[in-house]
Amino acid sequence: MKHTELSRIITHLLRWFLAPHRAEELEGDLDELFQQRVREVGLRKARWRYIRDVVSLMRPSLIKRQTNRYARPKHTAMLRNYLKIAFRNLAKNQVYSFINIFGLASGMAVAMLIGLWLYDELSFNRQFKKHDRLAMLWQFVKFDVEKTAYDVMPIPLAQELRSNYPDFELVALSKSRDVIVAAGERKLLKTGNYVEPEFMDMLSLNVVSGTQFGKNDVNTILLSKSLAQALFDGQNPLNKLIKLDNKQTVKVAGVYADFPANSTFDDVMFLVPWKFYAANDENAKLDRDQWDSNSYQIFVQIKPDADFGAVSAKIKDIRMKRDNPPGYKPEFYLHPMSQWHLYSDFKDGVNTGGLITFVWLFGSIGVIVLLLACINFMNLSTARSEKRAKEVGIRKAIGSLRSQLISQFFSESLLMAFLAFAVSILFVQFTLPFFNQVAEKQMVILWQNPIFWLAGLGFSLLTGLIAGSYPALYLSSFQPVKVLKGIMRTSRSATIPRRVLVGFQFTVSVTLIIGTIIVFRQIEHAKDRPVGYSRSGLIEIGMNAPELYRHYTALRNDLLNTGAVADMSESSNPITFQAGGTTDISWRGKKPGSKPLVMTNYVTHDYGKTVGWQIKEGRDFSRAYSTDTASIILNEAAVRLMGFKNPIGEFVRRGSPNRQFKVVGVIRDMIKEDPFRPVSPSFFVVEYGNVNTINIRLAPQLSTPEALAKVEQVFKRYSPDSPFDYKFADEQYDRKFGAEQRIGRLAGGFTILAILISCLGLFGLASFMAEQRTKEIGIRKVLGASVFNVWQLLSKEFVILVVLAFCLATPLAYYLLSNWLQSYQYRTELSWWVFALSGVSVLTVTLLTVSFQSIKAALMNPVKSLRSE
C-alpha cells in the first residue's frame, strides 16, 4: 500500500517538527493505524484520517524538545572558550596588552583623523548640485617673462560669453566685498557678494524664506540665515530695510541657508543684485564697458554635454581678437569648480596643483603611521606567542586539532585588533575638537557613513589576520613531543623579519624628525627675515564709511591730540598687503619691449614715519617740498630692476596722462606680500585721493586697550555709524605663515605620535627579549659579567638597527626635503647638523627605552633568575 505524494510531504513535515525522541513511536503508530484503516474503511478514508492524525499531533506538548542533562557543545562554545582564553591572556600580561592595544589604537586614531581630513578636503564644494558643470574664469597674463594667473575679469566679458558662446548655460558677474551692514542700531562688518541672479541658480541657492531677487530688482538683499539671526534676533527679516556702508538702503527679499563650511562661499553672508553695484559703485560705473579693467569675477555653468577644456580653448583669445589688444596678452581659461580648492596654483599658465600636495602628504603620513602601528602589533604578537609554544604542545597532547589552534590564535589577535579599533574611536572622539582647531576645520566622525565603518572594521580584520598569521600558522605546526621535551629552539630566521620591521620603523621616524625640523626652520628662516618696517603697535583700519574721507588733516590732528597715537597716515593698501601694480611705467634705459610689473602704492606724507620704513638713500616725502607731488620713492628691488647706479635724481614716467616723477629716496625692501618670496619692485607716490586704509602707530607709553579706546572715540566722532574695526599689522603678518605653520604643527604632532608608537613597540620588544634571556643573563652574571656587559649585550642589536636606519633615512629625507624647499624662493639650507641631531636624538630615545629593560635585567639577582623554573 503506497502513500500518496501528499502524505509523504506530510510525513516529512512531521519529522521536521516533532521532538526527535518521539518521532519513531509516533511514525510507527501513524503507519500502523493507516494500514489497519486501509483494510477496514478503505484507502480514501484512511488517508483522510492519516492527515487528521498528523495535524492533531502538532501540539506543543509533543513538539517540545527533550531537555538533556549533559552539555551539548556547539561551534560557539569553542569560540567562547577561545575568547575566554584570550581575555585571560590579556589580563595576565597587562603591560604587554596595554602597549599592543594602545599602540595600534593610536595608529588607527591618527589614520582616522587624517582620513576625516582627507574626506573633508575632497568633498570641498561637492555639496553644490551642479558642481561638475560650474567653473570660474581665470586669465593668464604675461607682464614680463612668465604668465601669471588672475581670477578677475572685465565686465563686458560676461555679456560677450552670454550672447556669442552657446556652450554656456548661465553666466554671472560677481564682486565680493566687505560691507558695513546696518539694521537699525546694529552694525556689522560682513563679507558678501554682488551677483547677477544667475549666480543663485548655479549654486541652487536654498532660500528658506522669501524669494530670490529677479533680473530687474535693484535695491534688494538676500541674507544668510546666520546674518539674519545676528541682525534681527529671530524677528521676521522679510521686507525690513538695511543700510549698506552707511549709504544706500536695500530691502530684505529673502533668507538663504548658509553655504556649507567646506565650500568656497562659506564666508558669503549676503547677496545683493549686481545691478545695485553697477548703479552705485564709482569704479563699476567707469568699468562698465572697459575691456582692460579687471576687477570682477565671472562664474559660468556650461551645458551638460560641454567639456571645460574645449570651451576654454574657444574663449581663450576673446580679448586678443578685439581692437587694441593689451600688451599683457590675456588668455581666458575656465577653472572647474571641482578644482578650485585643491588645484588653485598656476605657474606660467599651467596648473601646478595646490592643496592637493597636502592631501597626498598627509595621506601618506597617515598610511605610514598606521603601518608603524601595525608593524608593532605584529612584532609584539609574534614575539609574545613564542612563549606559548608549551601551551601549544599541551593543547595538542590533549587532543586539539591544528585547525582549532589556528582559530584560537586568530581569535586572540582579532580580539585585540577590534579592541584597538574601539579604543581608537574613543581617541578620535576626544581629540577631534583639538584637531579641528589646528586644522581649522569643522569635522565630525562619520557615524552614519557605512564606508567609514567598513574601512575601520575591514582594517581591523586585516591587521588581526596578518598579526595572528605567524602564531596561528607557524606555532600550530609544532610537534608536541619536541615542544614539551624542550628541544624546540626558535630558529634565527624567525627574528630576521622582525629586525627588518623595526629597522623600517626607525627609518620612518628619523625621516619624520628631519622633516619636522626642516619645516620649522623654514618658517623661522622666513620669520627672521628683515621686514623693512616696524610692526609693533601698528594698526590698520579699512576706510569703509564715506565720512572718513576728505578729513585727513583734521582726523590726524584729533588722533595725535589724544596722546594715544604716535603717528597716523593713509595709504592705498594695508602694509601687509599689496593691492596691485602697473606695467605702464618707464625710465631711462628701460629695455624696449619689456613689460615688468611694478607695484603701486599711494601714500600720504606721513606714511614713512608711521610704518617706520628705512631710508637707504635720499630722503622721505616732506611737506617742506611742494614738488613732492611729483616725487617718487623706490624700493631696492625697483632700483635693481631699473638698473640705476645713482637713483636719486633719476626720473620715472608713469600714469595716464604720462607724468614725470623724480626719485627722491630709496627705501629698504618691505615684505608686504609672501614672506617666502623675494620682494617685488615697488614705488611710492604721494596721493591723498586714492587711499583706502588708515595706518596708525599707537603710542608706546599707553597700554594697547587704553590707546585703542581713545582712538575709537575719535573715529566715533567722525563716523558714528560704522563699527570700529581694526587689525594689528603683526597679526596680519603672522597670518602669512598660516599654511606653513599648520603643516609644521601637524607634521610635528604626527612625528611625535610616530616616535611614541615606535618606542612603545621597542619597549615591548626589549622587555620580551630580556625576559627570554633571563637564564642566559643569570649564568653570565655568575661567571662574572658586569652590569655594563649585560646592558651592552641587550642594547647592541637595537643600536645597530638605529644606525642602519639612519643611513637609509638620511638620503631619503634629503631627497624629499630638497624637493619641498625648491617650491620656495626664499629658503633655508639643509644643514648637516639637522641630520646629525635627528640621528642622535633617535639613538638617545632608543637607548633610553631599551636601557630601562636591559638594566632591569642586568640588575636581577642571578640566584632568583636561575632558580625559577
Binding site: 513511536e25 511514525e27 510507527g28 503508530d29 503507519d31 492524525d53 495535524v55 509533543l62
Partner: protein, 108 residues
C-alpha cells in the same frame, strides 16, 4: 508531578492502557478506545493525554523491542503505575458511593 485531577478523556485513556496491559502503545490505545466507545479519536489527542498521564505519574513507559511490524519502528509501551491504579479505584469508588446515595424514588 502535576495535580492529580483526572479529566474524562484522561480517565478513558488510562483505562484503555490498563485493558491493553503489556501491549499498550499509542495506536493500540486508539484502537481500544474506538472499539470500546464507538467513537473516533485523534492520535494526537491520545498521545498528548498519555504524555500528561506520565507527567502526573499515573503511567510509566519504556521503549519496546524492535519488531518486524511497523517497518521496524519501535513502540513506546505504557503501563499503569500503582499510583495510577489507585487513582482509577478512587474514581470508581467515588462513583459507586454516589450511585448508592441516589434515593430509590429518584427514578420513578
Amino acid at each position: 508531578m502535576k495535580g492529580t485531577y483526572l479529566g474524562e478523556f484522561e480517565e478513558v485513556v488510562l483505562l484503555a492502557v490498563a485493558i491493553r496491559a503489556g501491549d499498550a502503545y499509542g495506536a493500540a490505545v486508539v484502537n481500544e478506545i474506538e472499539q470500546q466507545m464507538g467513537r473516533s479519536v485523534n492520535l494526537g489527542a491520545v498521545h498528548s493525554a498519555l504524555n500528561r498521564l506520565q507527567e502526573k505519574g499515573l503511567v510509566s513507559s519504556e521503549m519496546g523491542g524492535m519488531t518486524a511490524e511497523r517497518g521496524g519502528r519501535r513502540k513506546r509501551l505504557y503501563k499503569v503505575t500503582a499510583y495510577g491504579q489507585r487513582a482509577l479505584e478512587e474514581i470508581r469508588q467515588l462513583r459507586n458511593q454516589m450511585w448508592d446515595a441516589i434515593p430509590k424514588t429518584a427514578w420513578s
